[in-house]
């Protein structure tokens, strides 16, 4: 055999691959079984939603934001609506705020259960996938009862919500919550005390607190690394100001924080329990009154059309902070609309997590941040075939320059 250099060798994965449901392209530089370096190329599901949004009016955009992501539709719609409401000076009725909180928390419950199932599947534990997804169906039933649809609810609209929660529905919600609270102990037991899961997840996909802060990680991924961030606690919106929401960190349950996949499971499962509590509190404290500031859509459109200014809407989505920036200049469509979904901040944490892991751990580590690529994908424009890479410093410089330019 010749003395050719055999390592590192390269394994390309994707964009269509069986692990995740969404396309993403990975390039792994391997040294034997060990990942030395990793690069990834998202962008395969870019649909140009912001561009389309800038050609539609806010009432239409709400249906577009629902379809940025099929799992966290409420978060996107809520963040966008909150931005538009701030620009247009629309005061949302208090009851609508509570209904928004309830549906946002139900979305978190179903999203975290969904993730728990996917994580079990990535570990090869398919019976647990089927168990969690069977359990999840009950929350889907409640969501369908509240909104009329299982996915893409279209409940939130600019100025309020589309449907009220009537007293008959309280019992259905209460049934679901008590089932989940009863099941949570069982699920925690299944996930945390199972030998296989502990072996596969403990000390796998480590993300240190420093790295999490440096990479601007958000949501459960950041909290599992010990970063105390939760928009519901730090910048309360909707009804969260009236509720006592505290960020869930793994050391509250386990006594220590390691920032591994196991910690991410703990955080997400405990958040299911927390969400149940929030929904229950919302139901008991929900004030009566209107559910929308302006029920007539034509009037609402006229208000939006007159609006001038810019605003941001921030919402704690199941995966972390979801951020919408809207500029309106007295036209029907917004002049600018920028979406930063939570996975956009989290994707970079794949690189420190995957370095040094084995091939077999790729699926669970990749899934552990609960990536949502349809929220995230951007388009890359290549001019005349040349390629350039912008570093963080370059981006910072460009950003400062733009601020200076706008100030003039």
């Amino acid at each position: 055999m010749s003395e050719e250099k055999k390592s590192p060798y390269i394994i390309p994965i994707g964009p269509t691959h069986p692990a995740l449901k969404e396309p993403v392209m990975f390039t792994f530089r391997m040294d034997g079984e060990v990942i030395r370096d990793v690069d990834f190329a998202p962008g395969q599901t870019h649909r140009g939603i912001e561009w389309m949004g800038m050609r539609r009016n806010p009432v239409q955009i709400v249906h577009l934001t629902d379809r940025i992501c099929g799992i966290c539709g409420v978060s996107h719609t809520l963040a966008f609506s909150r931005a538009v409401e701030q620009v247009a000076g629309i005061e949302v009725p208090e009851r609508a705020d509570y209904i928004r909180t309830i549906i946002a928390e139900f979305e978190r419950i179903q999203s975290h259960l969904l993730w728990a199932g996917v994580a079990a599947h990535e570990l090869g534990f398919d019976s647990l996938l089927h168990l969690t997804w069977r359990v999840r169906e009950q929350s889907m039933d409640v969501i369908e009862n509240l909104t009329g649809n299982r996915v893409n609810y279209a409940l939130v609209q600019v100025g309020g919500v589309r449907r009220d929660i009537v007293p008959e529905q309280h019992r259905i919600i209460e049934d679901c919550l008590s089932t989940y609270e009863g099941l949570l102990g069982k699920l925690l037991d299944l996930f945390l005390h199972d030998k296989t899961i502990a072996m596969r997840c403990r000390n796998v996909g480590l993300l240190s607190k420093d790295d999490a802060l440096k990479l601007c990680t958000v949501g459960p991924t950041a909290r599992a690394s010990g970063v105390n961030v939760d928009l519901r606690q730090d910048y309360p919106y909707c009804a969260y100001g009236d509720l006592d929401v505290r960020a869930i960190l793994p050391d509250q349950h386990l006594g220590e924080t390691r920032g591994d996949v196991y910690d991410r499971i703990v955080v997400r499962l405990l958040e299911v329990g927390q969400s149940c509590g929030i929904v229950r509190q919302c139901l008991s404290e929900m004030p009566s009154g209107e559910i929308t500031a302006e029920p007539k859509l034509a009037k609402l459109l006229a208000i939006c059309k007159k609006a001038r200014g810019e605003a941001i809407g921030r919402v704690e989505a199941p995966r972390g902070e979801c951020f919408h920036y809207v500029v309106m200049e007295g036209k029907e469509a917004p002049t600018a609309w920028k979406v930063k979904a939570s996975s956009y901040s989290n994707l970079m944490s794949w690189i420190p997590m995957l370095r040094g892991e084995q091939i077999a751990d790729i699926p669970i580590v990749v899934a552990s941040i609960d990536p949502c690529l349809s929220c995230t994908d951007r388009v890359a424009v290549v001019r005349s075939g040349s390629r350039s890479i912008l570093t963080k410093d370059d981006l910072h410089r460009l950003s400062v320059e733009k601020t200076r330019r706008l100030q003039q």
């Binding site: 969404e22 099929g70 997804w133 169906e137």
Partner: protein, 144 residues
């Protein structure tokens, strides 16, 4: 439906995401989990197109995925069927005016079964699979 004599194997599906919003993906996975459980009829999702009878396509086909969609379609052995799940793959749906679309799906590859809805319910997806099954039997020479 009653299987004809040409029903000689279970139906395996390969799922291809051509730029969907995840809504249909979630409902497809929900359709294979215990509440609906089509696996008792042998219907399941497989990880490789070479094992599949039916290709389940979601999403409106964005520019980057067009070539890949054709490549994956070519990899599925004949006789094969394509099932288009979700409104955006059928007509573009809410994304109809986007600059990044090459779709709808039937302009890229031939589609046999359309399942409308944004997203369709798991029951609708299973009904689509059953429709596909009937057509596959016809292709194989059954009398269904």
């Amino acid at each position: 439906m009653k299987p004809t004599p040409s029903f000689n194997r279970s139906l395996w599906a390969f799922h291809f995401n051509s730029g969907s919003c995840n809504g249909c993906e979630i409902e497809i996975v929900a359709a294979i989990t215990p509440r609906y459980d089509p696996e008792r009829f042998g219907i399941k999702l497989v990880g490789s197109p070479r094992h599949a009878d039916v290709m389940v396509v979601t999403g409106p086909v964005v520019k980057k995925m067009k070539d890949r969609l054709i490549r994956v379609y070519d990899q599925i052995p004949d006789p094969k069927l394509v099932m288009c799940v979700g409104t955006c793959g059928i007509s573009g749906g809410v994304f109809y005016d986007s600059y990044n679309l090459e779709g709808p799906v039937d302009e890229v590859i031939p589609v046999d079964v359309y399942v409308p809805g944004c997203p369709p319910r798991p029951e609708a997806i299973i009904h689509g699979v059953v429709t596909a099954l009937a057509k596959l039997e016809r292709l194989e020479g059954g009398s269904a």
